[in-house]
Structure formats: C-alpha cells, structure tokens
C-alpha cells in the first residue's frame, strides 16, 4: 500500500469526498462546470447523478451521511457492525448500531478513485487472504485489515448457504482482527414451516448477540418506527416498479442503482425514504407525459440484468446504457419481495414475499427475519438455481414482467455460486427467448478486464444478436 494511502482513515476520506460532492450544486452552474475539471476521476459520476436533479442530489447527500455516521460512531459512543449489502440494516438502526456495508463502500471507491480499490484488494493477499475471493468484500475489508478505517466492533453476515465467498471474508476478517462474529444461516429452501422456524430461531439468536454486544435490550417501539418507515419505502418501491412496466419506461437509468443503494444504506430510515420519494415524483411526471426516462428520450431497448451491475469508474455502465437508448429494467439487487411488489401479485408469490406484522414483539421479530431472508440474493441464490422461488424463476418472471429484450449476467470472478451454474441459467433463458449475455468482467476491479474492453464486447453482443 502506498504511504499516502495510509496517511488518512479511508472512510473519513470517503465521507469528505461525498460531503464535498453534495455541495457541488450550491454555487452557480459556471462554478459547477469549473470544479468538474478538478475531479477528473469521478466528474462523470457526479454529473450523471446530479443530472437526475433532486433524486441524485439527495442520494449523494445520504451517501455522505452514511459515511459521516460510521466515521463518528465511536465519538458518539455507538457500536459499529461490519455487514453486507444483503443484510437489511433495519435491525441495526433499531438497536442504535452503526452499520458499515462493505460492498457499498467498495462501489463508492470504485466510482470515485482512479485506482478503485486496487490497493486494498492487494493488501488482502498480503495478509494471507485468498486472491480468488470476491472483490466486492475484499476491496473494503483490505482497508480495515490494514487498520486504516474506523473502529470495528463486530462482524455480522447472513450469507452462509447463499454465498460462501462473502461469508468466508467475514469469517476471516473477524478471526484476523479478533472481533465478535455472527452469521445468520440460510437453509436451502425459502418457504415452508421448517425454513420459517429456522429463520425465526436464527434471528432471535442474532438479537441476543446484538444485545450482548451493545449491552442494551431491543427497543420494540424503536423497531416499530423503523418498520413503519420500511413499509412506506416498500410502497414507493412498488409504485416505481409498476411504473417501469410502461413502454416507454419513465424511470431514468440511474434510478435502479439509487433504489437499491438507498435501501442497503438506510432501510427503515427517513434518509432512504427521501431519495425514493424524490424519484417517484419524477417517474410519475414522466409517466403522465408518457415520456421515456432516458436522457435521449428514445427507448430502443430494454435490458434486464439478472445479477449485479458493473461499477467501473465514473458510472460508465449507466452512461453506456443511457447513451445507447437502452433502458434499465432492474437487476437482482433492486427487488426486496415485499408483499405489495408488483411481481408478487402478478405471479401469486405471496408465500415468497414478506409481510410486516406489528401485533407483538414476536411478530415484529418474525417480520424482520422474513425481511432479511427475502433480501436480494438471500432469497433466490440458495439451493439449486431451478428450484421453486429461486434464481431462474425470478429471472424469467421479472424479465417477462418488464418486457426485457435481453438479459445480462455480470458478476465477479470470485462469485463461486453463480459461475458454478450461469451457463445453465443462460441456456434456460435463451430457450425462453431472451438473448443472454454473460460478461466476464469484474464488477469491482477493472484490472481484470478494462472498461473499454468490457464496453466493446457488450456492444458486440448487441450487434451480433441483431438487437441494434
């Protein structure tokens, strides 16, 4: 690691970066344009987000807020928990624990830094962690292993049974730094009495663990407040998802990212709701005028990403899609399976969705455990991919609902569970009539395949399959 990188706490640096970005539009347009020249490695990201107007502005603000929370957690006497994107932070907020979501921090760094998370990725290897593990955790965990981040009090994950490489990164880091560790374990089935019971007992054990770590009991009233806010967010997301079914889709391309990132950061908290409300306003306006959310105004294609996005520097994936008239119809990360989501009703998947019941503490905990077990990936990447409620069913269902013209798979070389069967998935989706493109890039590490090569191959796929 370079000396310069070690001089400041990396999360403090991220906070100041996003805080400054949040102030970019507070001057004149001329001043804004001038400043962009001084941030060559993320000016396009900032422009793409701020170009969406109020939603983008709010989104940058909540990113800054998240980083501020974790940077000053210790000062404020709060505990911090390193967690993963597919673990709903609602329980942490309810117990006054500050979450540190590894993958979102990796995305932030891949967006804004010239070298992305390269130094932290490599540092993991230096301390003995395996090089082949997923870059999404490695990119941030490297900084914490090197001791250049905020104080960490515990590690909490819910990926055993879904994603080994994720669970393994948490297990390694907790052992390396000698910190308390807790895993929510996922059985191969989503529904049924056994799974429900297992999720419930496991979540109770989680709460006992968190109470032990904080020395405080779970406050039911606080939790109810969070869940009410979460329910409000679910309504907004449901409406956004419904609007995206229109042709042309009135939802701008960067919205999908802002939906899931806001939820990963602030589920159950007003910060997320603010961004969602702002997006809904614009989407409704566009829908009323029957106009496309694309900046060019002309919708040529509809893409469904069955897995995750490519977070190469400067949000280049979204810009590529937008500039080519390809609207973004969702990915695995933006669907939370609330009971009121359009796809739940459309496909009668009530059992696979979650309800929020606040009748008593037990019902509250049950609701939380259901919310968690329905999180992106946690829901559909367990057991075999072609089992009921699993990845194939979801992919085909969503692609159909959103009228996708083609499906894209993008992940990382560290993604053992998908690389183990993505060829099978593609066979099935092709058979169902969807041209399917498997990207061999690394969503968090452009050193594996440069963005230029990635974009070239993507466009080549569209040409060869006569989509453009």
């Amino acid at each position: 690691m370079r000396k310069e990188t070690r001089e400041y706490k990396f999360d403090w640096m991220l906070w100041t970066t996003f805080a400054a970005a949040a102030r970019l539009k507070s001057g004149t347009q001329k001043e804004y344009r001038a400043i962009l020249k001084y941030i060559p490695y993320f000016n396009r990201m900032v422009d793409a987000l701020l170009g969406t107007g109020e939603p983008g502005q709010k989104f940058i603000e909540i990113c800054a807020k998240y980083m501020e929370n974790l940077t000053f957690a210790k000062e404020k006497g709060k505990k911090t928990a390193i967690t993963t994107f597919c673990f709903s932070p609602a329980i942490f907020y309810a117990m006054d624990i500050v979450p540190i979501c590894l993958e979102v921090l990796s995305v932030m760094m891949t967006f804004v830094y010239k070298r992305g998370t390269a130094e932290f990725l490599d540092y993991c290897n230096e301390v003995g962690f395996t090089e082949t593990s997923c870059s999404s955790q490695r990119g941030t965990i490297g900084a914490y292993l090197a001791g250049i981040g905020s104080d960490v009090d515990m590690f909490v994950t819910d990926t055993p049974g879904v994603c080994d490489t994720n669970a393994n990164a948490f297990s390694f880091a907790a052992a390396y730094l000698n910190k308390p560790f807790f895993q929510l374990d996922m059985p191969p089935d989503l529904t049924g009495l056994r799974s429900n019971e297992y999720h419930r007992e496991d979540f109770k054990a989680l709460i006992r663990f968190l109470e032990e770590q904080t020395g405080k009991k779970l406050d039911s009233e606080r939790l109810k407040e969070n869940l009410r806010e979460l329910a409000r967010q679910d309504e907004i997301i449901a409406e956004l998802e419904d609007l995206a079914r229109l042709v042309p889709s009135p939802v701008p391309v960067p919205y999908n990212l802002m939906v899931y990132a806001s939820r990963f950061l602030f589920a159950g908290m007003p910060e997320c709701t603010g961004v969602l409300e702002s997006m809904l306003k614009v989407a409704r306006e566009n829908a009323a005028k029957n106009i496309s959310g694309l900046s060019g105004g002309v919708e040529k294609l509809r893409a469904f990403f069955c897995y995750i996005d490519h977070y190469a520097q400067n949000m280049q994936l979204w810009q590529m899609l937008d500039s080519n008239g390809i609207c973004y119809q969702g990915n695995i990360l933006s669907h939370f399976w609330s009971h009121n989501a359009p796809h739940v009703a459309h496909y009668h998947k009530e059992e696979a969705a979650y309800n929020i019941n606040m009748a008593n503490t037990d019902a509250l905990i049950d609701s939380l455990s259901m919310i968690n077990s329905r999180m992106p990936m946690i829901k559909s990447i367990r057991g075999p991919y072609d089992a009921p409620n699993m990845w194939l069913e979801d992919t085909l269902g969503l692609a159909k609902l959103y009228n996708a013209d083609f499906i894209v798979y993008n992940g990382t070389p560290g993604c053992r569970n998908t690389w183990g069967m993505v060829k099978l998935l593609a066979r099935d989706t092709e058979k169902a009539g969807y041209p399917t493109y498997i990207m061999y890039a690394d969503a968090f590490d452009a050193r594996v395949q440069s963005w230029e090569a990635t974009e070239e191959r993507f466009m080549e796929f569209l040409k060869v399959r006569r989509l453009v």
Partner: protein, 382 residues
Amino acid sequence: MMKEFLEASTALNNKHVTKWKKNGKKVVGYTCSYVPDEIFHAAGILPFRIRGFGATDITIGDTYFGPFICSLPKCMLQLAGEGKFNFLDGAIITPGCDSMRRLDECWRKAGSDVPGVLPPFFFHFGVPHKYSDYTIKWFTEETRRLIAAVEEHFKVEITDADLKKSIKLYNYSRRVLDRFEALRTLDAPPFSGEEALAVILAGTTMPREEYNALLEKFIASAEKSSGIKDRVRLMLVGSANDDVGMVRVMEGGKALVVADNLCFGSRFYTDQVGENGDPVFELSKRYLGHNDCPRMYGDYQRRLNILEQKVEKAKIDGVILQNIRFCDLHGAENGLFERDLEAKGIPCMRLEREYGPLVETGRMKMRVDAFIERIQQRRTIA
C-alpha cells in the same frame, strides 16, 4: 494387503462394488462427509464416497461449470458425464461449499443431455453452517427427510433398531481407525502417509464389515513393523485430497505425512456417535458437530486449537497448508493458520494446486523440498 487398499482407493467401481452389485444390492454415492453413512448401511445400501480421482480430461466439467470454479466438482462431473458413475443407484449432493453445491444442477443438466449418467435417486441434502440447538434440530429433520426419501425410493424400511445396529458397527470401526491413527503418529510409523491415505480412502469404497476385517489385519501386522525412522514429520491441512500420488510426491523419500486435518482423512472418522437415545438425533449431532471444516464459519479458533494439539501429539516438524485454486474457504483459513502457527514457532508452507491429474509434480516437489530443507536447517541449529 496394501495392494488391496491401493486398488480400492484408486479404482472406481472396484471389485467390492462389482460383487455388491452382482448380488443385486444398491450403491448410493455422496460427495461430502456430512452425510451419515449409517443410514445407508441400515438400509442394506452401500454408501460410496464420490470423488474426482481418475479424471484425465475436464471438457465435460467445463461445459456445465463456468470458469473460476475449483476443479474438484468439475472432475466429479467429468467422470459422471463419461458414464463412470453409472454404477451408482443414487447420489446425495450437499452444500459443502458453493462449487460443490452446484454439482447438483450441473449433473442434472448433464443427465438431460447424456442419457443414463444421472442416478435415478438424486437428493439435495442441506447442512447448516453452524452448530447450535436449533441447527441440530433442523439437521435432524433433514436427516429424517433423507431417510424417508431413501425408504420410499428403494422400497426399504429403516427402523431405529436398524440404525442403532449400524451406528454400533461404525462406532466400532471408528475405534479401530483410532488405533490406526495412533500408529501414524508413532516415533517410527509403520507406514507412510501415502499408504495411510490409501487405507482411509479404501474405507469409503467398500462394505464396512469387509473394511473392518481388512483394517484389523493391517493394524495387527503394522504393529509388528519396526517402522520408518529419520524422516521429517509433516501434517497435511487444507482442501480435499484423495490422490495418494500427491502425498507420495510430498514425502519424496525425505518426509512422512504423519497427520492431517483433511476431509478424506482424519476429519472423516474421528468422534463416536451416541448409542443411546434417538439414533437420528445422535447421528445429526455427531455429523454436524465433529466436522472441522471451514464451512462452519466463525469457528476458526477451535480449528486452530485442534491443529495445535495434533502438532504436539504427532511431533510435527512442519505443516503443509495446501488449497485447490479457487478454494476460498481453505485458501483463506490457511492464511490464518500460517500466521498463528508460525507465531508459535511451527514451520508452515502454503501451497496452491489444482485438483485432478497429477501433472505439476516438479513445481510442487521444489517447494516441498525447500520447506524440508528449511526444517532441516532449523534442526542443525537446534
């Protein structure tokens, strides 16, 4: 006798299996040491450990699995796709790890492309990733689910009494293996690590009664041997290894692998199953609880303690921490082991390798030789 063990450990569909099948009996394969053998024994079915040893090519494996996947399940699928597992009447897939979990759908897809390669009984057997009261409960229910499925498909009845009898037999077997393990760690072990692995592997391919008899004969004769002296004593830790050839390369006439913590090694046979109470519950407790596998997240400290105890008991000179490329679980935990064991003055060497045909022996030998030289240098100073 060693020839018997070697044959059983290197030939698929060995003579024990062919004889078993000729008598009209069934064989069910399983990929992971979490599956209770006793269930099949109680049903009169031969439990057979599925391995990838013997694959000389990986094209079928690569057709279904993507790149960036460990070669262990790929080799297993390769053999399956070539029809080499057609003698199996059933297969149990467990989520030992993500790559192994995906063997389920890959094998099924291969089965739809190539008729006959998918066994008629194909079962996904879930295993929790931690040990606690509600996980044992879930695992007990899962084991009952497996039993019910076996009963239905093979038209057999597996009573508690049958299970208890099988448990007793396997417990006896485990006690015999304990004696075998004790011989491995003598100051002058009567057999090499290569031979030890052949003995252990053979147990996964033949009826337990026959195995017990062979094993006892072997131990009786080994106890009389003067033993192998003056070798550097190594412990082998990490990803699955079922290739006696690899151990031979590592031992290379200069060292002996006298202990291990491998899935195809001592992890497979330690600890007894409780013989009182509900046999399904007792099986679940032992199979979920004894397995020192990094898939049980958060349990590193306990596994480290086990290694430290083994180092002391077997008077280990050096630990080889190997992992198959793309094996994140062992690959990462080996890094922690290296840090903590070296800090206690125990020499360690990390080695990354491929699973499959033994082709990179030169590279491996060079590293192990250097490690042995390092250990010998230490000895001359001391």
